[in-house]
Symmetry: C2
Subunit: 428 residues, 2 copies
């Protein structure tokens, strides 16, 4: 058995101890973690400075350095986030269904932790704290692998959180940090011990994980999000929503990449949209019909329909109907988040019903697709698959359920042979 | 593009039309299907007789022939099942969460169909009707591949259901029947069109599907279920629960395969259990400690711990504590359904909490793990994975959800830059 398999098996064994902890015990540990982070701000900041220095010397790009930076304000944010989590209801032990099947035979569906969750993330050290806290709150053990550029910060954060948690009585396996990139591939083979893998990072990285893992993976690779401007759109709202969806944070998965414009509104919308996006430094690519209205647009190819730029670039296309727009989105999109801008409620309802995405919006920015903005407290990621959690995944997505059946010697033969009959009665 | 990919793509296109049907329209189609089945009983019975003749000539085993048989009584059962489904609440369009994020910005989580579901099943023709009806009720398109030994019955059932559904206004792609075994492997590559695969059949068959599919698979391969008899068990209940769990229908996935007995109760339990199981024709295999009490028991090896006999065979082992039993179950079991027999409520709660299975029972037969017996109306299968649906999967497991966000030009920059603030308010 390789080293990672041994570690994962030990964590699995501890996951059953985790499942026995009360919500109060898990909250106590979260509180201890928040206090320990506050007590060790200086050490965290020093480790982060060392990572930043090394990153600068290695020539890391400015946006990466920005994500890597973990200073007083960001530390305060994750401490506040951890404290907020304490206040949220316990996702574990919730009774989701309680039904008497017959006299004395009671079925209960109760939420419980998933078990052991492997999370692989890049650069941002705040992710380590958030994920550790979310997994602890939901009674799961977490095995984390962070980006190597943040290794000093991650190591210090891990040591603080692990000591605080175990001092508060949580089993040692609640949190494990892997530090070598080669550990990832071994981790993906531990299907006997690990119940779920959550990869966060670039498309290529997530796809690599999804392709190699025998373990269920929750997440998304692409974020090709659309804004469709319907014939009945308010031009001002359309321009504002597109601007925000594209430029508020272009590197995010929920930023818009393709704008679809109904032919009837194209001539009214495109010139002011061009001016607005141009002023923000956005490069626009368009189909020939777009070029007919915006002669200076760069030409777009079919490949642009599938491209997640993650940059100040957007592609534009004209559609002759709302159904053509819906079909474009369902064909080329990544089922992440897509928006219609319209004042026509019937058109909006058709779009909301037919677009096959985790988030379907009317008259608001695609950038709202986020666990914090949905009021989930925090998120471990965004799922674009259709099973289990879809969209931003908070605490609820870190729980599963089991069916408990309590009887008094009940046997199936009595029902199969007609001596007894089921009398279903929901108890709550 | 191969033939199956083309078929799947056409079904995918129809799945969006399916998503537009009202619950009433889907119920009308179910009603039409029930009537058409009743009107065509004779044709179904004739096709089934031809399948049975061919099966006998091909030397099919008696249990297989029994499963294949689809006569008046079974036809009446599936008609009644289809009618029952009409009465169940619509699993689609349910509002699962509604939250005001800020004034005029309303988040709604609404249940919706998964899309296109591929179901691969063996022998029993009633499965075809049940699955078709469950998928239609939940607004999904179904692509079915049944066992070749039932091909005549399946073809007639498919033609009846397809004509009744399309006459009632449902898109033609709602139901598709594949008839060649080689179609299965092609089906598993259609990840662009098929959202979920549900395989039903033998362990080896289901594992083959799980290993080859790029598409999410819901189901279970093994059903290694346990009954653990605690030191505080009532002997009479223990013997009855074990007998039922083993012999009521040994070929089922929820039949018990291993019996664990606390050392303190072994001498009292094992002799009457031996007599009872012996009288039912059950072959018992036991560890050396079992042989110390039951000298005539066959020897059990470690392999028995992992074996799903699906037959009148059971393995027996002694444990020195409840925790040893729990560890045995979590190590060797298949996370399907496991039972403790005890009058000690604290022991029961520990077992219910720590056994990591879809169903964890106290004092009742493992054979209760079934969608009908849980009051779900019907089931498409039983899931032993921890994501999405776990345990018997009924209508609810055939739905996913999406987040709808309705605004009035809301943009994220206003919140990021402090001009506006989220004020979460749950509306229901």
């Amino acid at each position: 058995m390789n080293e990672i398999k041994k570690i994962a098996a030990a964590v699995k064994a501890d996951s059953f101890r985790m499942a026995c902890l009360s919500g109060e015990a898990r909250n106590d540990a979260l509180r201890a973690m928040a206090i320990a982070l506050a007590d060790n701000c200086d050490g965290i900041a020093r480790a982060n400075e060392a990572d930043l220095d090394a990153g600068e010397k290695a020539g890391l790009a400015a946006p990466l350095l920005k994500r890597l930076k973990f200073d007083g304000e960001k530390i305060a944010d994750v401490i506040a986030g951890t404290r907020d989590l304490i206040k949220l209801p316990d996702p574990v032990g919730r009774i989701l269904l309680q039904r008497e099947l017959d006299k004395g035979l009671i079925l209960t569906r109760v939420s419980c932790p998933i078990g052991v969750i492997g999370v692989i993330f890049e650069s941002r050290p705040d992710a380590l704290v958030q994920i550790a806290a979310l997994c602890l709150k939901s009674g799961n053990c977490a095995i984390l692998k962070g980006g190597s550029e943040a290794k000093r910060t991650n190591r210090v954060l891990f040591e603080i959180l692990h000591a605080a948690g175990t001092d508060a009585g949580v089993p040692a396996g609640f949190l494990t940090l892997l530090e070598s990139r080669s550990d990832i591939d071994e981790l993906l083979t531990c299907h006997e011990s690990i119940d779920l893998i959550i990869p966060r990072g670039s498309n290529a990285f997530v796809r690599h994980i999804m392709d190699r893992s025998d373990i269920p993976v929750m997440g998304h690779s692409d974020g090709v999000c659309h804004v469709y401007v319907d014939r009945a759109a308010d031009i001002g709202k359309a321009v504002a929503v597109i601007r925000d969806s594209k430029v508020q944070y272009p590197a995010a998965c929920n930023a818009a990449e393709t704008i679809l414009v109904h032919a009837d509104i194209a001539e009214a919308l495109l010139p002011p949209l061009w001016d607005e996006l141009k002023s923000k430094g956005v490069l626009m690519r368009g189909t020939p019909r777009i070029a007919g209205i915006l002669p200076d647009v760069e030409p777009a190819t079919e490949e642009d329909n599938r491209t997640e730029y993650l940059d100040f670039i957007v592609s534009l296309a004209v559609t002759d109907s709302i159904d053509e727009a819906i079909e474009h989105i369902n064909t080329y999109g990544s089922h992440h988040t897509d928006c219609i801008v319209t004042e026509d409620e019937a058109a909006a309802e058709r779009f909301l019903q037919l677009v096959d995405s985790a988030g379907v919006y009317q008259n608001c920015s695609t950038r709202f697709a986020d666990g914090f903005r949905y009021g989930f407290g925090a998120e471990v990621g965004i799922g674009t698959g259709k099973l289990h959690a879809r969209g931003p995944v908070g605490l609820e997505g870190l729980a599963t359920y089991k069916y408990l059946l309590r009887g008094d010697g009940h046997i199936v033969a009595d029902y199969a042979e007609g001596r007894r009959h089921f009398r279903f009665k929901d108890l709550r």
